[in-house]
């Protein structure tokens, strides 16, 4: 009965309170009903269904959001896209925004303020479609103090201008939360303040380089056409000096990032990919200055600015793809920003980093435990699914230790900190092997190795040729030094990788696969073993499939069962409740929940019991007055496409299953994995160690798991693939982020990576042929630098067309785009 009264709810938001009256049905009449999907979030309505205006909602939260929007004539939200909302079942209490009242934290979000108004910016991870833009930009309809709201869709940011005296930052944040856009507050926001100036800088550099390149090309054209023997001397001089003038901004301004990164890498003692480029730019520039001022002929400013422009262009496209997903977050973005500290009976919002050992704090329903703590008060039901993968909450009693990373389900708790945030279990897990991997990423990729040696060889060769011709025929010597540098400029080689990878990453992004960097493609081709996590990767974490065998239940028995399970909040009970459908609920007396065994109670004069099968059968038996009527089996539903996927993968790779869960799903998993390739009851550390052992035996391991609970294993593996429902809300430090819908494409991903590698190799071969042929003539001092400068951009253009064309062709053949993965 408690549940019913909760549904008749009064809410109001700005303006006269209004009572929404509506009828709530229990949707399921018996077992065979059609699937209902929530009007707000589009998820299946599995438990109770709420109806407003004849529209179904899966939970109270979704319904509330609809109510607010309906009330403010904002229902166009649902017309632009169907079911655009975010599921509100796990909504956190808005008390967490109290931290925004603290001046130092408030200042992180306020970008500008004066006496009258303030501008603030929030990151809204859920923003994902045009409906979102429409609703958020109409925020002023919901609150009179909001003057304007502007959305930057790609960055998922909203900038709000509001009257300073009439609304606080906290109120704005709660307002966004009430309509289903939870602002992202975490320690990350406290550390960085990025206003996009980096990108603007690159755009301007690109524009300047392109402008100069184009003009210099025009000025150089007569020289090429007339073969260096232009009649009009004054005109030729003018063109020379104009080219020089235009090359200055390119050399000193546009190319600065190459100098900076090569200088940094040289100081650290390794050859970065930018070193040969910087060298080529500098040598070409200096050589051109020499020809202009000493020899009095045209320089190679066109090829120099061409190198810079094309390199910047390639990087710009790579960057755009990276903007889609942010990989750089660490465990801190998973932890909440604030905690409610309890001091002398008073509640105070503090930043989690301020929690000290011995502090008492409050954790509310659905909030995360930020630090290892001891339970002081309250009924703890901790969901450790992020840590262990086990979906069922664990009960803890007063005085027990609760590890960080769990999520409380139920009433609020009082906890005492015993270890501060940065020392906790998760933090340790996270930091274990993260650093090592990032370093070798820099040096190990095939492209860099090749180009490093290549540029070294070219340098040595040209210096040797220079010395040789100095003695044999001094007039050829300078040409022999510089022409190889220009013609064998590694930029065609480098571009082949940049453009192939850039385009491949973009194509993969359209298929719901987001790579951390280009090096991942390379690593994917070397994978020899694939390891899967179970919960959240192969099976959805929320739904369990239920099977009943035994005497068919009559409506009376069904009602008994239904009444009994409604008393319990255990996931199995909830699953059985759903299975029972709706029926008359009867009062249960002497209800008892026996931990680890089952539940029992009396209904009327009937003793009803639901308990774990006493014999070796795996299941839960239903007993009425001591007599067994039947048994329920629970098994996980498997994501669609998994059977086909593992079937395909097994032919080529050994595949393993690691699960933090119990082995109750083994029968299903046996159809997916070999019997001895499955491990259950794994702690995160066990998973990490398992991968480490595979690596010791020489395997290159790809781990497919969900974000944080497998963080250690993902870090340890050579390619860590994080599978997630929502690529924008939770992106931990993995190599690749995969949307759940994309998981069936794992094998395609591997094949595509192999194809991309082949494209790189082929284009390498093509540019090598260019280079070797060019070098052959150049080293003999037969080639004029002007001809070399024509060949250089020509080879670059061939390479660019070749790589982008082939990667697009392969993606069309191999990858299937995922709906909604990209707004374009």
């Amino acid at each position: 009965m408690v549940q019913i009264s909760r549904k008749y709810d009064i809410y109001h938001l700005q303006g006269p309170p209004q009572v929404l009256t509506f009828v709530s049905f229990m949707a399921r009449q018996g077992e065979t009903t059609t699937r209902l999907t929530c009007y707000h979030c589009g998820e299946d309505c599995t438990e109770e269904v709420y109806y407003v205006d004849e529209k179904p909602f899966c939970c109270f939260g979704c319904k509330t959001v609809y109510g607010i929007l309906a009330d403010n004539d904002l229902c166009a939200y649902y017309e632009l896209e169907s079911a655009p909302g975010k599921n509100r079942r796990d909504a956190v209490e808005t008390s967490k925004y109290e931290i925004l009242d603290r001046p130092d934290i408030r200042a992180r979000f306020v970008t500008f303020e004066d006496a009258r108004q303030m501008h603030m910016r929030f990151y809204l991870p859920h923003m994902h479609c045009s409906s979102c833009i429409w609703l958020l930009e109409n925020l002023h309809t919901l609150h009179p103090a909001v003057a304007q709201a502007r959305v930057d869709f790609r960055r998922k940011e909203i900038t709000i201008i509001a009257a300073r005296e009439e609304i606080s930052v906290r109120e704005v944040a709660s307002l966004l939360d009430t309509i289903g856009y939870e602002p992202y507050l975490s320690l990350q926001d406290m550390e960085k303040k990025d206003d996009g100036s980096v990108n603007r800088g690159r755009l301007i550099r690109m524009a300047v380089a392109g402008f100069c390149f184009g003009n210099i090309m025009l000025f150089s054209a007569p020289e090429y056409l007339a073969g260096g023997a232009m009649g009009e001397t004054s005109l030729r001089l003018l063109f020379q000096y104009l080219s020089l003038l235009f090359s200055l901004p390119v050399f000193f301004y546009c190319a600065d990032e190459f100098y900076i990164s090569s200088w940094k890498s040289l100081r650290k003692g390794f050859l970065h990919i930018d070193v040969p480029i910087a060298l080529a730019i500098i040598i070409t520039f200096v050589r051109s200055l020499y020809t202009v001022f000493v020899e009095g002929s045209g320089g190679y400013f066109d090829s120099m600015s061409g190198i810079v422009f094309f390199m910047l262009l390639g990087r710009y496209f790579q960057d755009r793809t990276y903007k889609m997903v942010s990989f750089t977050r660490d465990y801190k973005s998973y932890f909440p920003l604030s905690a409610t500290k309890l001091e002398d009976g008073k509640e105070e919002a503090v930043a989690v980093t301020e929690l000290q050992k011995g502090d008492t704090y409050i954790v509310r329903n659905n909030e995360l435990i930020p630090a290892d703590s001891i339970l002081i008060r309250g009924q703890a039901r901790i969901d450790y699914s992020f840590v262990t993968g086990e979906a069922e909450p664990v009960e803890k009693s007063i005085g027990e230790l609760i590890y960080a990373g769990g999520r409380q389900r139920g009433s609020h708790l009082e906890l005492r900190v015993i270890k501060e945030v940065s020392q906790s279990y998760l933090t340790q897990l996270w930091n274990q092997s993260g650093n090592r991997q990032k370093q070798d990423e820099e040096s190990r990729t095939m492209v860099q190795l090749l180009s490093k040696h290549f540029s070294l060889i070219v340098l040595i060769l040209s210096v040797m040729a220079f010395i040789f011709w100095l003695f044999m025929d001094p007039s050829r010597s300078l040409d022999a030094l510089v022409t190889p540098m220009i013609i064998a400029c590694p930029c065609a080689l480098l571009l082949s990788a940049t453009f192939t990878n850039g385009n491949a990453i973009a194509r993969l992004g359209k298929a719901g696969l987001y790579l951390r960097n280009a090096g991942v493609i390379e690593k994917l081709t070397r994978v020899s073993v694939i390891v899967f996590d179970k919960t959240g990767t192969i099976t959805p974490s929320r739904h369990t499939r239920i099977e009943y065998e035994g005497t068919p239940l009559q409506s009376e028995e069904r009602s008994l069962l239904s009444s009994l399970v409604h008393e319990s909040s255990h996931p199995y009970s909830r699953a059985i409740a759903t299975w029972c459908g709706t029926g008359k609920l009867q009062p249960v007396r002497h209800f008892r929940e026996i931990a680890g065994s089952g539940i029992e109670g009396e209904i009327g004069h009937t003793k009803v019991r639901l308990m774990r099968a006493p014999d070796e059968r795996q299941g839960t038996v239903f007993l009425v007055n001591g007599e067994e009527l039947g048994m329920f089996r629970f098994s996980a539903e498997v994501y669609p496409g998994m059977f086909a996927l593992t079937g395909r993968l097994r032919r080529e790779y050994p595949i393993y299953l690691l699960s933090g869960d119990s082995d109750r799903d083994k029968p299903v998993m046996d159809q997916l994995f070999d019997g001895n390739h499955q491990r259950y009851y794994c702690q995160p550390e066990d998973k990490r160690r398992f991968i480490e052992e595979l690596q010791k035996s020489g395997e290159v391991v790809m781990m497919v798991g969900d974000g944080l609970n497998d963080a250690g294993a993902l870090m340890q593996s050579d390619v860590g693939v994080a599978v997630t429902d929502d690529i924008h809300s939770f992106t931990p430090a993995s190599d690749l982020i995969m949307e759940v819908q994309g998981i069936g494409q794992t094998d395609r991903l591997l094949r595509y990576a192999a194809a991309a590698r082949k494209v790189i190799i082929w284009s390498f071969v093509i540019s090598l042929i260019y280079n070797v042929a060019g070098l052959w003539f150049a080293l003999q001092g037969l080639l004029q630098p002007v001809i070399a400068a024509i060949l250089m951009p020509l080879s670059t253009i061939t390479i660019v067309l070749f790589t982008t064309g082939l990667t697009s062709l392969f993606s069309r053949r191999l990858l299937r785009p995922v709906a909604g993965s990209d707004p374009e």
């Binding site: 304007q148 869709f153 603007r200």
Partner: protein, 58 residues
């Protein structure tokens, strides 16, 4: 033939003006968001429901 010097000067001046305009607009953030405006323009205006004193200032 000497008129070509004038022509080159004019065309360069023109090109530089355009470059300068581009840089200015890039610095002001015109190219920061190249997606949202394309969606925004398709939305119908919502008729104002209640008087909003602040909105009129913008």
């Amino acid at each position: 033939m000497s008129v070509i010097f004038l022509l080159i000067g004019c065309s360069l001046l023109l090109a530089i003006i355009f470059l300068f305009i581009f840089i200015r607009s890039a610095k002001r953030g015109q190219f920061d968001d190249d997606y949202t405006p394309s969606v925004r323009i398709l939305f119908d205006d919502v008729p104002p429901r209640k008087s909003n004193h602040l909105k009129s200032k913008h």
